[in-house]
């Protein structure tokens, strides 16, 4: 029985399959949480302890302290990351939904061909095109500016695709009626379409946030100035820079700082995401 209303004994076998899987999926994340709050001597403890008994914020304090030594305050990396994430979310929602609006409602030359190009762009994994991207960024002259974080991320082919699929569910009559009433295309887009596609917009916001907030490549490849770098890149240099046990606690704290906003945002918006995904199919 798909999507049952209540618990039934016949479901026990499914719980038995899920339980070990949930444990495997959760353990590393629980571990990150417990490691991040462990005092230094417990990081060194033998035998290793999974849970800590004495919760401390030392690792977070040290994380902020280490940043001070590089001459760039921790708050600067945080500010950069937040600014970049917000800009990417707003820009990719605006550009993505306008493109999807055109693909779904408007008729124009090469529409099929362009949508096909978008499909191809989905499969062109971002790392595989990092060389041409690197050259384009240099030619544009945006290297070592804030734009270097933003420009590579605002075009989101998956986002355009999901938004277009979602818009295809909207009755065409709505568009035609508004046109007869004298609304122009932009008015239709802002007043009629945008309010109807909120679940899809929320989904794109999450995807855009993930791509911006977790991103290390833009700092790695396009930024030279330490004060323009973002949080995950700074964290990655800490993680990869040393294998000392003391650094493990700091790295765990760093991972947690990156992970928590992602999961919180997803939990808040998960209904919208599932709603959008129902229309995600490639036909």
């Amino acid at each position: 029985m798909i999507d049952p209303k209540n618990f039934h004994r016949s479901q026990i076998k499914f719980y038995l399959i899920l339980l070990p899987l949930l444990v495997v999926m959760m353990l590393p994340i629980i571990f990150i949480v417990s490691h991040a709050f462990k005092p230094l001597d417990e990081l060194y403890a033998y035998p290793p302890k999974f849970f800590t008994t004495r919760i401390t914020l030392d690792n977070f304090r040290q994380l902020i302290g280490v940043a001070q030594q590089t001459g760039v305050p921790f708050s600067r990396y945080l500010f950069n990351s937040i600014l970049v994430s917000i800009t990417v979310i707003v820009a990719s929602i605006l550009i993505g939904s306008l493109a999807a609006f055109a693909f779904s409602f408007l008729e124009f030359k090469m529409k099929k061909w362009l949508f096909w190009a978008n499909q191809i762009a989905i499969m062109f994994v971002s790392v595989a095109v990092s060389v041409p991207r690197f050259i384009v960024m240099h030619e544009l002259g945006v290297v070592n500016t804030f734009f270097a974080h933003i420009i590579p991320l605002i075009a989101m082919p998956v986002g355009v695709f999901l938004l277009k699929q979602f818009m295809d569910q909207i009755p065409r009559e709505l568009f035609e009626a508004a046109k007869i009433d004298g609304a122009n295309k932009l008015q239709i887009y802002f007043k009629i379409i945008l309010p109807l596609i909120k679940p899809a917009l929320a989904t794109i916001a999450i995807l855009a946030f993930q791509s911006a907030w977790n991103n290390v490549e833009t700092s790695q490849l396009f930024i030279k100035d330490e004060s323009l770098m973002t949080l995950p890149y700074y964290f990655q240099t800490l993680t990869l820079g040393t294998s000392s046990i003391a650094a493990q606690g700091i790295s765990a704290a760093a991972s947690l700082i990156i992970f928590v906003p992602n999961i919180v945002l997803f939990i808040i918006l998960q209904k919208n995401v599932m709603n959008t995904m129902a229309h995600s199919g490639i036909k």
Binding site: I2, D3, P47, M123, A128, S130, V131, I263, I282, K283
Partner: protein, 249 residues
């Protein structure tokens, strides 16, 4: 110039032929179809239980895909650490399965398998969510009709009703699986804290490409590598479209 890069790639680059290509193929074959089938099965199992539990379980299963793979290597380095402080070594020593700690992160074979495990762990991403909502949106009357027509068990249900009814989501999930599989890089280097890792363990095409592009600044050669990679990705996508695509294709 031009074609020369491809000739070098095919005839002269032993690191590519010996390590990057076979590693990528091994990784892709296990994480791609493996992670994909796992995603479908987990989504199907989740669809069999009531909504509240399902939502919580789905969030837990999706959450690894939200972690940053490089930052998470902190965990894996502690779990698989080569001394007796490593969780896995400690566990096995206590069980008495082994007498001395295993150097998981020094041995190329174990490094490769750890990388594959980590990849599988974080493979239930947006494609998994698409498949879950695809399964939940199938009209229940189709199942009832099929059982009246003589469908006998749940396996038949999966292959004759569920998968054909959600082909578009299956295809979207496949495309996402391919994309995320070939996007992976740097995990083995982060695990072993050296780039390239010892004996090029877990060295993928993308690692090789990044190495040429941004360490040696041989952009032409790196571009040739990325063309090879994109060709592989494109071919896998054609295959996915063949399997799940609609009539038009």
């Amino acid at each position: 110039m031009g074609i020369q890069n491809y000739i070098t790639l095919l005839t002269d680059d032993t690191d590519f032929m010996q390590y990057a290509l076979p590693n990528t193929i091994l990784y892709a074959i296990i994480i791609g179809p493996g992670g994909y089938m796992l995603s479908f099965l987990v989504a199907w199992v989740l669809a069999q239980i009531p909504k509240k539990v399902r939502t919580v379980a789905a969030i837990i299963i999706y959450s690894p895909a939200l972690t940053s793979s490089i930052l998470m290597t902190v965990v894996w380095r502690v779990v698989f650490s080569g001394d007796n402080r490593g969780f896995l070594n400690n566990f096995l020593l206590n069980l008495g399965v082994i007498n001395t700690p295993i150097q998981f992160l020094q041995d190329p074979t174990t490094v490769t398998w750890i990388m594959i495990f980590v990849g599988l762990w974080s493979s239930m991403g947006i494609g998994f969510l698409a498949m879950l909502s695809g399964i939940l949106n199938i009209n229940k009357e189709i199942y009832e009709a099929a059982y009246i027509d003589g469908m006998k068990n749940r396996w038949q249900e999966i292959f004759y009703i569920t998968i054909p009814s959600m082909r578009p989501q299956m295809l979207f999930g496949a495309v996402m699986a391919i994309v995320s599989t070939f996007n992976a890089y740097g995990i083995a280097s982060a695990l072993t804290l050296s780039s390239p890792p010892p004996q090029f363990a877990g060295w993928l095409i993308v690692d090789h490409m990044n190495d040429f592009a941004f360490s040696r600044y041989e952009m032409g050669y790196a571009s040739a590598l990325s063309v090879v990679l994109l060709t592989i990705v494109f071919l896998f996508n054609r295959l996915a479209h063949r399997l799940f695509g609609g009539e038009k294709d």
